[in-house]
């Protein structure tokens, strides 16, 4: 079982999938075969062929070029969103776990409160109030995801607190800031890294959903979610408009998912 279905297979499949997305991202930065918003009335709704390998949409835009460019927004939103969530989550989780007591109670009640809103709902409200833009989507999703990280840090910190080296540091009078940053934080990496990677995947799911509803990345920028919602009226006649953006999303999410699975199964202490 181990040789065939073991951790290594996750790593290989995940790396292949992620390198496809990375290749799209890098190529899209420097070169696209057609402009992403250049319309061509002569070639509307063309099936995949030699000139347009992913076909064209109802305005005659090249789907391949749009897929190349859209990858950068997917990557940007997922990374920036997770970074925001980590910023909030690390701080609150460490404080709650290290100090316990009333700080812990307050933080846990607040994070429970946030988690009670279906995630996408909270992000939609933020966008409704502050307007639809990529920046608003990033911080809104960051807040939605921060309780997840706060929980990981909190439970990890509590677990480490009665280790001898932490007690030793406390007795020596090391400041709480130094203990958490130097002694606790690095030791939580095995739990945090899979959570970050899963967070990236979930963030992408949310972002594409919001872009699909027209409340995420705004045109003229291309995003997979928006491409899919534009394609919906033509999907029976032009299924390639749906298949290729979906494949790109699946590549990215599945790749991340496999890598996190690899870390979970191969790193000791990573699986709880």
């Amino acid at each position: 079982m181990r040789s065939f279905n073991g951790p290594k297979r996750y790593l290989i499949t995940g790396t292949i999938l992620l390198s496809i997305v990375t290749a799209f991202f890098l190529i899209g930065l420097f070169w696209t075969p057609y402009g992403i918003n250049s319309t061509d009335s002569a070639s509307k709704l063309m099936a995949p062929c030699a000139e347009h390998i992913f076909g064209t949409d109802n305005l005659g835009r090249d789907v391949f070029s749009r897929c190349l460019v859209a990858s950068r927004y997917t990557l940007l939103v997922s990374f920036a969103g997770v970074a925001t969530a980590l910023l909030f989550g690390t701080f609150t989780g460490l404080v709650a776990g290290y100090y316990g007591g009333w700080r812990d109670k307050v933080i846990m009640i607040l994070s429970n409160g946030v988690m009670c809103f279906p995630g996408i709902l909270l992000a939609l409200v933020a966008v409704a109030i502050f307007g639809a833009s990529m920046f608003n989507v990033i911080w809104a999703l960051g807040i939605v995801f921060s309780p997840t990280f706060a929980r990981v840090y909190r439970s990890g910190t509590i677990e480490l607190l009665d280790r001898d080296y932490i007690l030793q540091a406390k007795i020596m009078g090391v400041s709480p800031t130094r203990i958490t940053l130097i002694h606790i934080l690095p030791n939580l990496m095995p739990q945090v890294i899979p959570a970050v990677i899963t967070g990236l995947a979930n963030m992408t799911l949310f972002e594409s959903g919001m872009s699909y509803l027209g409340l995420g990345v705004q045109p003229p920028a291309a995003s997979y979610g928006k491409m899919l919602s534009d394609a919906q009226s033509y999907m029976t006649t032009a299924p390639w408009l749906i298949i290729f953006p979906t494949l790109m999303l699946v590549c990215y999410i599945l790749g991340l998912y496999f890598i996190s699975e690899w870390i979970r199964t191969s790193v000791k202490g990573g699986s709880r």
């Binding site: 279906p118 109030i129 699909y212 409340l215």
Partner: protein
């Protein structure tokens, strides 16, 4: 016994506190709108008098704390105010759309349970065998497809290959309950599939863990059949982790239905939500948000109670 009562009371207090917090979040979110909400709702062309009139109507001239108490008081009596774009009571609007969203979530949940339990039971019996690998792999892939993309693919498939379904057909439950259910079946399935993958993964892991326990070996040596061991010993033990997973899945299902009903053109809360966002109808929006969050809080609370009820270990641990 008294400690059980105390534990339950603590949970009820937590529940009430969370409800209050959720209501505060909702209220606060709509109070920190940059600029004058009345001005935003009416647009730039409205006159000063119109804006002032709306401000009085919305009670915006009163202090914040007073407005919160008033809003909360009304909300718990089911009165969320009047929608600005529909000109009817928000409560009525929500309750007219509720059958779609709630029905879809419920059907999705039932599908998740009906599919993931047998799947996990079969896979956990022979982990690592081809069937287990195939199902686990399918689970990974399903998990990675966004629900709305999955919905489109299923619509394509059922329309082109099976020729049975056209999206956008919806019958109210009061008209014909059978066709109401059938119109919600495919959308519910789309919401359920990724969640089946998630629930299956958790259940499979916990069932494998329990099937290696000493009590299973003892049961086997007593000559119990595999089916009996599964039903009497392994499934009851993995019930607890399943309640935890399901309570996690629930809020995802609610959120998922908001998007999926858009794909299927169903007149549910998600559509209403998007309309209210597009028309900047904040009383309606805050009503929907609070309502959905309240449902989730209640469901979490119930899951918490149930898991304590079915597992003495949790009950005892919390009592200490």
């Amino acid at each position: 016994m008294s400690s059980t009562v105390r534990a339950t009371l603590t949970k009820v207090c937590e529940f009430l506190l969370t409800t209050l917090l959720v209501s505060f979040f909702t209220f606060a979110a709509f109070s920190i709108i940059p600029g004058d909400p009345a001005r935003i709702m009416l647009g730039t062309e409205a006159s000063e008098e119109q804006v002032e009139q709306l401000r009085v109507e919305l009670g915006l001239n009163e202090p914040l704390a007073e407005r919160y108490v008033k809003w909360l008081d009304n909300a718990f009596r089911g009165d969320f105010g009047t929608s600005l774009s529909f000109n009817t009571s928000v409560g009525d609007l929500i309750s007219s759309r509720l059958p779609v969203t709630l029905g879809m979530s419920l059907i999705a949940l039932i599908i998740v349970l009906l599919v993931s339990f047998p799947m996990a039971a079969i896979c956990s019996k022979r982990p690592g065998k081809p069937l287990d690998k195939a199902l686990s792999c399918a689970g990974h892939i399903l998990f990675a497809i966004p629900p709305f993309a999955l919905s489109m693919m299923l619509i394509l498939f059922s329309a082109n290959v099976l020729g049975i379904f056209t999206a956008g057909r919806y019958t109210a439950p009061s008209v014909n309950f059978g066709s109401y259910l059938s119109s919600l079946l495919l959308p519910s399935f789309c919401i359920a599939l990724p969640k089946i993958a998630m629930t299956f993964k958790f259940l499979r892991a916990s069932m494998i863990e329990y099937s290696q326990g000493d009590f299973v070996r003892t049961a086997k040596s007593h000559g119990l059949t595999d089916l009996r061991i599964m039903m009497k010993h392994i499934i009851p033990n993995s019930m607890v982790s399943s309640v935890t997973v399901i309570s996690l899945v629930l809020s995802d299902i609610m959120g998922g239905s908001l998007i999926v009903e858009q794909v299927f053109n169903l007149p549910g809360l998600g559509r209403l939500l998007l309309t209210s966002i597009a028309r900047r109808d904040f009383p309606l929006l805050s009503g929907i948000v609070f309502y959905l969050a309240l449902i989730t809080v209640i469901l979490y609370f119930l899951a918490d109670l149930i898991s304590a009820l079915i597992d003495p270990r949790i009950r005892d641990r919390r009592n200490v």
